[in-house]
């Protein structure tokens, strides 16, 4: 890190999906959340990162990879299903290239037709490359990202075991378990003790400080108001890390960095040249043509080939054809604009602050590629252009750990309870729609602690341990913040509700076995197969935190 730099920008990507694993089914709709993210975000990002590395262009990014995602990445059956998914998409792209009239009926001008042709070629090439990349890494994304970490570009941070919304938890043991299991898994997978921790939903409460420090965590990210609302307000606002518990530092999200990239209205992703998310050949194509590429149920759904651009604020059917080359050119302009904006922002701050400011820019990783198709290209451009600018860039990209290592002024404050959800607090995860979920979690957490305490006093048998460990898995999976979130958003509420109920049901069915209820080993085995997270956990983690 350059000590003479005017200031720093810490780019942080939070990577998470809920654990969705249905080995009973060849096709399961919600498993496609993972496949879409793999095809649109994780693999394209990996490809860009590898290109940057191979061109010796440094890219300092901090990245959380949550345990549910890591477990899905490691699951052989999901990898195999994804390989089929990717093959299916490549085959669809080739078929569209071979026989476009079967898929598109509208009459077009020559110019439009040429643009569409380029777009088709783009998809054929894209899926060919994705397949090649997938094969070259043998489907092992974890090792690939670990390699990027070991090369010195990525800093991997930990997150909670199943992305639990920690401030609302009932038991401190349950909070500590989420944190410890998450940290330990990250260390196991990436061979390093993580220094940073991504708080699920950026949700902070002061009771999280002690367990985070106990797990060796040094820094985390809070939303802007978590820092500027701190008591006392930090001298440098959110432009320097603030110490929010003994040895624990918080970096506050910078609203300007966020808006430029996040906002679909005023941010880059809303540019007319970029790909339109809500048009998809799965819905637009002639049914007979697209049918072989849909799941066996034959229901139309997104298949990832989209041929329209955002165009303007017009109806979906009025969208114009997407030109990947034109979009790629826009990413260069947007990357330049982002760099200019940060340079100017940091220069302004440098004039008023007595220290080098830090701009913390956290985003959901899935924004890059899945929500904003050109996002991975934007990120690549960001680092390429930054290197080309040299000292003229006016600031440096750095990870929070590097910034902490480089001593600077710090304030000791009590951070404001906050999240990065709607209106900045907990209303998304605790409201009239999902309130019924919380008492179940409170009771499960209490019972888990009681059982763990009880069995820690004696040496449980192998079978008892299996039951207790599986109870922990069911509790962890029920605790995922995704379920109340999805229920609130009403996107796949039916599925989220079912999943939550399943985990509650299984938890108590397993617990009832200790009181003599009938629960066969086969049933236990079946539950272990389905809810297969943390295979080597030890239930005693819930005994007296």
């Amino acid at each position: 890190m350059n000590e003479t730099s005017n200031g720093y920008c810490a780019l942080i990507l939070h990577t998470h999906l809920p654990y969705v694993h249905h080995p009973d089914y060849e096709h399961f709709l919600e498993e496609e959340w993972l496949f879409e993210a793999l095809a649109e975000t994780y693999l394209p990002l990996l490809a860009r990162f590898i290109e940057l590395r191979d061109a010796s262009i440094p890219f300092r990014i901090s990245m959380s990879l949550t345990p549910p995602l890591l477990f899905m990445w490691k699951t052989a059956s999901l990898r195999s299903k994804f390989a089929t998914y990717l093959k299916n998409r490549e085959s669809l792209a080739r078929q569209v290239e071979k026989d476009p009239e079967r898929f598109f009926h509208s009459e077009e001008s020559d110019a439009d037709s040429q643009i569409r042709k380029r777009c088709i070629e783009h998809y054929v090439e894209r899926y060919r490359r994705l397949q090649a990349l997938w094969k070259s890494i043998d489907g092992d994304l974890l090792s690939s990202f670990r390699q990027l970490q070991d090369d010195g570009n990525l800093e991997i941070l930990a997150s909670a075991a199943t992305h639990g919304f920690l401030p609302l938890f009932q038991r401190k043991e349950a909070i500590a378990a989420q944190i410890r299991l998450g940290v330990e898994l990250t260390e196991k997978c990436f061979g390093r003790r993580p220094r940073g921790f991504w708080l699920p939903e950026c949700a902070w409460h002061e009771k999280l400080g002690a367990p985070l420090r106990a797990a060796g965590i040094e820094w985390l990210v809070l939303d802007h108001h978590g820092i500027v609302g701190a008591d006392p307000r930090p001298k440098h606002d959110h432009y320097r890390p603030a110490e929010i518990a003994e040895g624990l530092f918080a970096f506050g999200r910078d609203p300007r960095c966020s808006e430029q990239v996040w906002s679909s209205k005023v941010g880059y992703p809303g540019d007319p040249a970029y790909r339109e998310l809500y048009r998809d050949i799965g819905y637009d194509a002639d049914y007979r043509a697209i049918r072989p590429y849909l799941n066996p149920d034959g229901i139309r759904r997104n298949v990832g080939l989209k041929f329209q651009r955002i165009t303007a604020d017009v109806e979906l059917h009025e969208k114009k054809n997407y030109d990947p080359e034109a979009a790629e050119i826009r990413t260069r302009a947007h990357a330049a604009n982002f760099l200019d904006s940060r340079r100017d922002q940091i220069a302004d701050l440098r004039r008023t602050l007595d220290t080098r400011p830090v701009l913390t820019a956290p985003y959901d990783t899935e924004l890059f590629g899945h929500w904003w198709y050109e996002g991975p290209s934007f990120l690549e451009q960001l680092f390429r252009q930054h290197q080309l600018r040299g000292d003229a860039a006016g600031f440096e990209f750095a990870t929070p750990s590097e910034i902490l290592d480089h001593r600077g002024p710090r304030s000791r404050v009590f951070a404001h309870p906050s999240t990065w959800g709607r209106n900045g607090y907990s209303e998304v995860w605790a409201n009239e729609k999902n309130a019924w979920m919380w008492p179940h979690l409170f009771e499960m957490q209490k019972r888990m602690c009681q059982r763990a305490e009880e069995f820690s006093q004696r040496n449980p048998t192998w079978m008892e341990r299996r039951f207790l460990n599986q109870m922990v898995r069911e509790l962890l999976l029920a605790e995922s913040s995704d379920w109340p979130f999805i229920v609130t958003m009403e996107t796949s509420a039916h599925y989220a509700e079912r999943r939550f109920r399943d985990h509650v049901h299984r938890f108590f069915a397993l617990e009832d076995a200790f009181d003599g209820a009938l629960f066969s080993e086969a049933e236990l085995h079946s539950v272990e197969l389905h809810d297969a997270v943390f295979p080597d956990l030890d239930f005693r983690i819930y005994a007296g935190a």
């Binding site: 404001h416 605790a430 309130a435 919380w438 009771e443 341990r465 086969a522 049933e523």
Partner: protein, 430 residues
């Protein structure tokens, strides 16, 4: 329903530290070499997997590399091995060798100078076991049964039922663990286990621990579907309290899974022929799958296995509790349950009319200001959201009122925890 996939193994993987003619330190190498032929007599196809050891170097010309680079995570790091292939001169079946010079080829004696000592003689077998499943996947082989030969391969059974437990290929695969001569089994130092970063929870007395040592043999005995004992072994004596193997408690609990080959000194009922042993292992393995299927059929249609209507979430819990949570500076969430002993007693003491006519109230108190107010809540609900002020501490109580207006009585059903609302940032900044 389709036929049971365990009726016959699609293919058997024989796994051994030794395969003649390339390496044999006793009878094990020869036994492994002839096993494919014996299986073939029962129309069972097989292949063999073994470690490439230093002693194999002199036969280098006979081996063909079939996988250049397979990577695994071992000892907390990415390790790479290759896979070589040779043909068994007995019957031309394939023999695959896992080659990882750093772990498998070091040292003259594959078992170490003193069997079971800490060091490479031990770490080598841990590595081989960890590499085994990834090797099969790299070769795109998915055998229906593993035939593990003696303690150096025992850990493979353990890993198949633990780390790979959730993987389709391992779950469907039966395991026979064959013990040739337990006297050759040593006790290992668990330091290597920890160095290899294998699961700590298996180091328990009823699992792989023996006193303070690691006993790999126990892993094979415990985790395989069937254990076959060789001619030098008497099952009864092996499992007797007088033996040195610490297995006495296992005989009863695992008797269904223990058998001896003909010619051994076991009791007649223990003995079993090769083909019958395979059938038994497959049957024991498939029992689980059948139970799974039966369970699902009883419970739900397969297509609804996951999205079944209402999976029995408890309607209430036998507790009396009131929980307060802060939603934002101006809003609290309140959750309650009054089905505990005290709550039930109160409700049971009332007449049906009194219960029907009862009113439920949340009484809230702001601690510093002392202000109190009451919110009437609807019957049957178990949560409520209340508006409050920022920067205050709150506590709540749940009350039930009953009786006529002349004679109204009220009972406190539960008291909450204390919460603090954060200050309102907008108010503060203005």
């Amino acid at each position: 329903m389709s036929s049971d996939p365990h009726d016959a193994p699609s293919c058997v993987a024989i796994v051994s530290a030794e395969v003649a003619p390339w390496f044999s330190s006793g009878r094990l190498g020869e036994s492994t070499q002839t096993l494919p032929k014996r299986l073939a007599r029962h129309q069972i196809r097989s292949f063999t997997v073994a470690p490439f050891l230093q002693c194999h170097g002199e036969y280098a010309a006979e081996f063909e590399t079939v996988c250049e680079e397979v990577s695994i995570n071992f000892a907390g790091e990415r390790q790479v091995f290759s896979i070589l292939r040779a043909l068994n001169p007995e019957d031309d079946t394939q023999v695959f060798f896992i080659r990882a010079p750093e772990f498998l080829e070091a040292g003259d004696d594959p078992y170490g100078q003193d069997r079971g000592d800490s060091g490479l003689g031990n770490l080598r077998w841990l590595f081989f076991a960890v590499a085994f499943r990834p090797a099969l996947r790299a070769l795109e082989l998915s055998p229906g049964l593993l035939f593990l030969q003696d303690w150096p391969t025992a850990l493979i059974a353990v890993l198949d039922r633990t780390d790979h437990h959730f993987d389709d290929d391992a779950h469907a695969c039966a395991v026979i663990f064959s013990v040739h001569d337990p006297r050759q089994q040593g006790w290992h130092n668990p330091t290597d286990w920890r160095e290899a970063k294998l699961r700590e929870d298996l180091l328990a007395d009823d699992l792989l621990y023996e006193g303070e040592d690691l006993n790999l043999l126990k892993g094979g005995l415990l985790f395989s579907d069937l254990v076959l004992f060789g001619p030098d072994t008497s099952l009864k004596s092996l499992f007797s309290p007088q033996s040195e193997y610490g297995l006495s408690s296992m005989y009863e609990s695992r008797s269904e899974h223990l058998r001896a080959i003909p010619g051994s000194s076991g009791t007649p009922q223990d003995k079993i022929a090769l083909k019958d042993a395979i059938d038994l292992a497959l049957r024991l393995r498939s029992q689980r799958s059948r139970e799974d299927l039966l369970l699902r059929r009883l419970d739900l249609e397969p297509s609804e296995a996951f999205l079944a209507p209402q999976r029995g979430v408890p309607e209430y819990y036998p507790i009396d509790a009131l929980f307060l949570r802060v939603v934002d500076p101006r809003r609290l969430a309140v959750f309650w349950e009054v089905q505990g002993e005290a709550g039930r007693q109160v409700l049971d003491s009332l007449s049906a009319d009194e219960v029907y006519g009862s009113r439920w109230e949340l009484r809230l108190e702001a601690l510093e200001s002392g202000s109190r107010w009451t919110v009437t809540v609807r019957g049957l609900t178990k949560n409520w959201f209340v508006e409050v002020d920022p920067g205050r501490q709150y506590r709540a109580e749940l009350w039930m009122s009953y009786g006529s207006s002349d004679d109204e009585r009220a009972l406190r059903m539960a008291t909450s925890n204390l919460v603090s609302t954060p200050p309102d940032l907008i108010a503060r900044s203005s």
